[in-house]
Symmetry: C2
Subunit: 234 residues, 2 copies
Amino acid sequence: MKVEIWSDVVCPWCYVGKRQFEAALAQFEHAASVQVVWRSFELDRTASRSPAVQGQYAQRLAEKYGCSLEQAQGMIDNMTGVAASVGLDFRFDLARPGNTFDAHRLLHLALARGVQDPLKERLDRATFSEGLRVSDHDELTALAVEVGLDEVEVREVLAGDRYTRDVLADEERAAELDITGVPFFVVDGRFGISGAQTPDRLLRALDRAWSTRTVLEMVPADGAPGCEGDACAV
Amino acid sequence: MKVEIWSDVVCPWCYVGKRQFEAALAQFEHAASVQVVWRSFELDRTASRSPAVQGQYAQRLAEKYGCSLEQAQGMIDNMTGVAASVGLDFRFDLARPGNTFDAHRLLHLALARGVQDPLKERLDRATFSEGLRVSDHDELTALAVEVGLDEVEVREVLAGDRYTRDVLADEERAAELDITGVPFFVVDGRFGISGAQTPDRLLRALDRAWSTRTVLEMVPADGAPGCEGDACAV
């Protein structure tokens, strides 16, 4: 059973939601049958590739959501507290978001190489606990190599345009699904869950999807009864 | 949108169904957005890897379905006629089915290399028009190379056990879906169609799946209204 999670690597609630999903999956009876795929979603496609200044997160939030600096700081304090409650050390004083398109391309390379989840984890941590520059090719390369990707291949991907189509396809699908915020979970292609949710709620969604997953709607035959299609039987 | 087709390469109705599906797809407005995946299904897991004798198809059918030789010949004549009507030249006088496990492993290699449909077509034709031996590693290699696979890699796969898990996973999923005969089409993971069906019927299923494909069932929030999960918005 596939769980697709649209997410960005500069999205604090996505990182919190990742931990909550992991907690849900740890309790899910059929976890071994679950395939998790991280789908690309850029919160800001216009973000610069140059590293943002550190320590101005409240100012950026205030501008983005049109609120006061105090309100923005309140959001940051709230996120930091929730993150701590799930074991994450958020350092908004260090964070410097930037353009994430290349990070998403690498996540597609990592999917093909079987290390997507470790790379997603590493990129989220780099952004929110370490203040690394998520647009920088050298830093991206170092992080990708850390999780087992081949340095030569990573540099080739970053220098070229491989996986561009995959990132755009994820974003196109997100638009079709009316996804405007992340994280967004799609379980078995059928159930949608928006935002960072409690493990309990995610677990119930997994249970429900599992219990109904083999149900196919059969397309009825044309014409008269007995006019079924021909098949070869075991 | 994904269309998965469970099928065997020694299944005459599967080959007919392939043509019918191709005719449906040619008329489908969103064909460019359709990804076709051929799923493994062995009609006879106990089939020998040694080549069957040619020209005894009626006898084999009679044994399998417990009918008379005349009835079996009637089935063959019917299949040959239907095949001709969709442009296929069925030569049951040449056909010699055998174990297809390795052919299915190669189809998974071909999926990874982007040439699955050409290989599926080539294997079906080899069986039903040319009487080639679908269990024979040399003949399989020649057919795989014809559609563009690398000979060294093909021989490595055949000599080892790569893609065994993929074949078994397809068959396990077929069992979960109660698939006991092929071809069996699953459109967008939601609609099931059993047997070789008319292009019109397949087209209607594609249309219906497409028109409903973006509909996700949203899992409602826990607790009080307003207690939605937290998300980062664009």
